[in-house]
Amino acid sequence: MASDQLIEQSNCALAFSDIDIQIPSDLVFERVVRESAVFVAKYLGFDEERVGDLQLAVSEAVTNAIEHGNNSDINIKVGVKFYIRAERLAVKVTDQGHWVEAAHTVERANDDIDMETRLEHDMTRGMGIFLIERLVDNLDVKSSSTGTEFTMWFNLHKGSEPNDPVSFNIELQKADQHLN
């Protein structure tokens, strides 16, 4: 099937209703979501490279939600929703934690990764967000007392520069703002 046809088809099925996956907060289940992402990307007619980009971005976001959001507590879930709005595929990853800004690990979109410093200080983590920013077309993070919503957007029709770093819109509400 031509990819245009697939996108057409998707506007029927995905635009009205979403795919929703809930997994226990254990890293082994990250793979279920990652494979589903591949299916959705292929269904939408993404080319091989974009399929890989989407798969990796979803994997990173789900890993973070399991580890940082839910502290790997298998009694609570990480949710993932795939849906289409305004010519874009959205992947919304939700957890029940609070966003933790970690200035020394989060590499901002306009910085290059300074591998030399990393290697000197044995810093082998902190590349997830850095990669996500380079793989998605847009990114939104909302965090409040009810948890974190991490939403990644992928254009259905390839536009402008692919894989340009995106701006990272983050909206953090103080936990107590909602609590009382």
């Binding site: 990764i113 591998m115 290697l119 082998t124 990669l131 380079r134």
Partner: protein
């Protein structure tokens, strides 16, 4: 098993057996650091997926190789994984090579 290790006099070839280099295979990959050799080759043959948890494990090998003055190479890397390795500036420390080109190093 995630890894198959081939040991020579001055070389080690680490054949990754998994299709994913991710959180669930990271520990075993990082654990290979004591078995590296003057020339150490990571064979990514069956690998279909790599994420930052996997890259993190590979970086532990890179750091250790530097400390020990050893040289790491990657073979059988897909186009997408090359792109990801480039993004995180990995290729400077673990260049991608062709197995044929490494033959002189391992048959020496």
């Amino acid at each position: 098993m995630t890894l198959k290790v081939e040991q020579g006099n001055a070389f080690t070839i680490i054949h990754i057996q998994n299709d994913s280099v991710d959180a669930t295979s990271a520990k075993e990959i990082a654990g290979i650091k004591d078995r590296m050799n003057q020339t150490t080759i990571m064979d990514f043959g069956p690998v279909m997926f790599i994420n930052s948890a996997g890259i993190s494990a590979l970086l532990k090998l890179v750091i250790e190789a530097r400390k020990q003055g050893k040289k790491l190479y990657a073979v059988n890397v897909t186009a997408h994984h090359r792109k990801v390795f480039e993004m995180v500036d990995m290729l400077r420390y673990m260049p991608i090579a062709k197995m044929e080109d490494l033959m002189p190093l391992i048959s020496a």
